[in-house]
Subunit: 408 residues, 2 copies
């Protein structure tokens, strides 16, 4: 059988040990969704859980709080299992942006301030958080070009470095252990953004000696638009770091209200306001599905699917002017593939509007194809790329309105 045939893709799906997970997500239409790296699909269990949580609010009212109050830590423990953290090292709270702000400020407060360092290609909100802190504290913001590499990581003693484990544009997977060791050797504090990595690739924070991390839950963890994010603080650091935002959910014995601030001795000291209970329930369901499938199995399938994209690109798309922007070595990438084309914006629009394929556009010239092994099939990849080549061969992108618009 031709390995690039649709029959081969269908055969791979038939042999897929994760195939049953597809039915655990809502599929309201037959669109091919290759943007789970931006917003994951709705798990059926989450739909049911949200209804149950609304009922629980209605029935238990404030009496629900004794159970709800542990949700940030309980859900964090589930995430910990996906990223190589220990129980008690992760809490779910706030947004990735706010959590990154908290950890950068905490590191600077505890260790003094050198430069703030990240790659110019890091996700915008990460750069903005650092730019803001640098401006307000009068610190140097050091942006470097290219992918982060241990040998050349431009940091020294007292610096705070923020790196995404999987880059949002190319899907490049950084070397967690080597970069962590490089930062440590140079006396810098390294904070990982796991948004595009958690649930997609194996992550071993403790094995790498990672100290701090943040991440979002609405991509591969399928927790819904704007779902609460998480943060990780290695156990041995929890007593020495403090959140810059002192809030009542970080307070020890929270309901003895007449005292000065005295933060929890553990990771809960990084909580601030009242936890979003419905959002946390959605995180719990999404993470549970990922944990049941297992990151190793998900990663193995992600490799198969992204390898198929690369092979079909080489065979069908490269001759049409596409260029692979993601690492060719599967060991060096996450679960999405970026293809460059001068008409990337129009191609994205044409795929969505005429071909029922949902990719993602990232300016100026990148079409992003994300695979979510819980629900993306080999035939989805084959069909999407077949429609893509057909569109381009027929010159359809040239007929699409080139006015840039909003694509998330």
């Amino acid at each position: 059988m031709d390995p690039l045939s649709r029959a081969a893709a269908a055969a791979a799906d038939a042999a897929d040990p994760l195939a049953d997970y597809r039915d655990r997500f809502a599929h309201e239409d037959d669109k091919i969704y290759l943007d789970g790296n931006s917003l994951g699909r709705l798990p059926v269990a989450t739909r049911e859980r949200l209804a149950a949580m609304a009922a629980e609010w209605g029935e238990r009212l404030v009496g629900g709080w004794p159970d709800w109050i542990d949700a940030p830590l309980r859900t964090g423990d589930l995430i910990a299992g996906l990223i190589g953290a220990a129980p008690g090292e992760v809490v779910v709270c706030d947004s990735t942006t706010v959590n990154l702000f908290k950890l950068v400020e905490a590191a600077l407060d505890a260790r003094g301030g050198g430069a703030l360092v990240t790659d110019r290609g890091n996700f915008p909100t990460d750069r903005y958080v650092l730019e803001g802190i640098a401006a307000r504290r009068g610190l140097e913001l050091r942006l470097f070009d290219g992918e982060p590499e241990a040998a050349t990581l431009p940091c020294g003693s007292g610096d705070v470095v923020v790196l995404s484990l999987v880059g949002y544009r190319t899907g490049a997977l950084a070397d967690l252990a080597a970069l962590q060791a490089a930062a440590r050797d140079r006396g810098a504090t390294l904070i990982w953004d796991l948004s595009h990595a958690a649930g997609a690739v194996p992550v071993d924070l403790r094995g790498a000696g990672a100290e701090l991390a943040v991440g979002c839950t609405y991509k591969y963890l399928n927790a819904g638009p704007g779902a609460p994010a998480y943060l990780y603080v290695a156990g041995e650091l929890q007593q020495t770091l403090r959140s810059p935002i002192w809030g009542w959910f970080g307070q020890r014995e929270q309901f003895a209200m007449e005292r000065d601030y005295d933060p929890e001795p553990d990771v809960r000291r990084f909580l601030a306001g009242t936890p979003p209970i419905l959002g946390l329930a959605a995180v719990e369901e999404g993470v549970r599905l990922t944990a049941q499938a297992g990151v190793a199995a998900l990663h193995a399938k992600a490799i198969e699917l992204t390898e198929l994209i690369v092979a079909l690109h080489d065979e069908w798309l490269a001759p049409l002017g596409f260029e692979l922007a993601s690492p060719r070595d599967f060991a060096r990438r996450g679960s999405h593939i970026s293809l460059l084309h001068p008409l990337a914006w129009q191609i994205t629009r044409a795929l969505i509007e005429r071909a029922d394929v949902i990719p993602d556009f990232r300016g100026p010239d990148s079409v992003r194809l994300g695979v979510a092994p819980l629900y993306t099939r080999h035939v989805d990849v084959w069909d999407a790329l077949d429609r893509l080549r057909g569109l381009v061969e027929r010159g359809e992108p040239e007929t699409v309105d080139a006015t840039p618009g909003r694509v998330t």
Copy 2:
């Protein structure tokens, strides 16, 4: 008819123009819920809207974002109508704690730092936020005793003052206009916490010349446990204040990602991370109900209900050792009443466990009875206080486990 009879209460309910709103909330049991000032009830419309939003996530996937992205401002505009703000002056985002942190830091950045001032009895998270900022910036934290009064507000030029419009313990309503004028005259920046006020009492931020405010949505606005909070920045200040947390949802032309940070020219510059879309939908439904009923009508009924509590207290409870901790003048209080009793903790437990009445305990000696005019009836107040006096007359509180526990 005896004005303190149950028949009089039933007659008042029969004449209540808001009576129909009660059926727009879920009532899964016949408990008398007097803690809507801690966590409001579930609106039926919210239950339906949450299911619809989950379906919308499942169907539209990332294609939903063009509509969802405006939710923080759109929902903020609804809240603006309840608090005397103009459209474009309120956004819904983050928690009250995080929003307060943002506004205090923004004010200090823009105007220089004097002392941070609040009353010792202010809500704990407000005090903690100020305590943290004072500690990190080396500023004085000035806590004053008693309720805030314009004549004695202890602030001067460059100070940042945080006051709750309605105090969480006694329900005392501060004089918004007088305090705002006092702060302005002394050169201080005043930030209002409207958590216990919005939806319960008329609030005219613009009329008072208020500059900054925050508030939560899960009390009288019935948006659910840990629902997103809001912040208000007067239009004329929006260009001069910046959030300390620079995030991608505060960025002008957010999806042109390759630029330096350039904040939105309006209140959206105080957004940080990705907005919680399901939470925002619940806020929208809760606020819409409040807006439909109208704050004036809600306040008029709150006065009736709290006057009934005060009258029944005087008649039945004062002889049993209770003391009214809330202002006797209805013009000086919000929508909850605090009663002091040495056995307040045991009384609270007995009411919940034996009488199907849900009040709230605030240490060390306060039973809080909140009325939510959208769903609290006069007979609910009468029945609750009747059961309360019966319990105490029979000596039941003395038989309850006095071990303090968690009550939210």
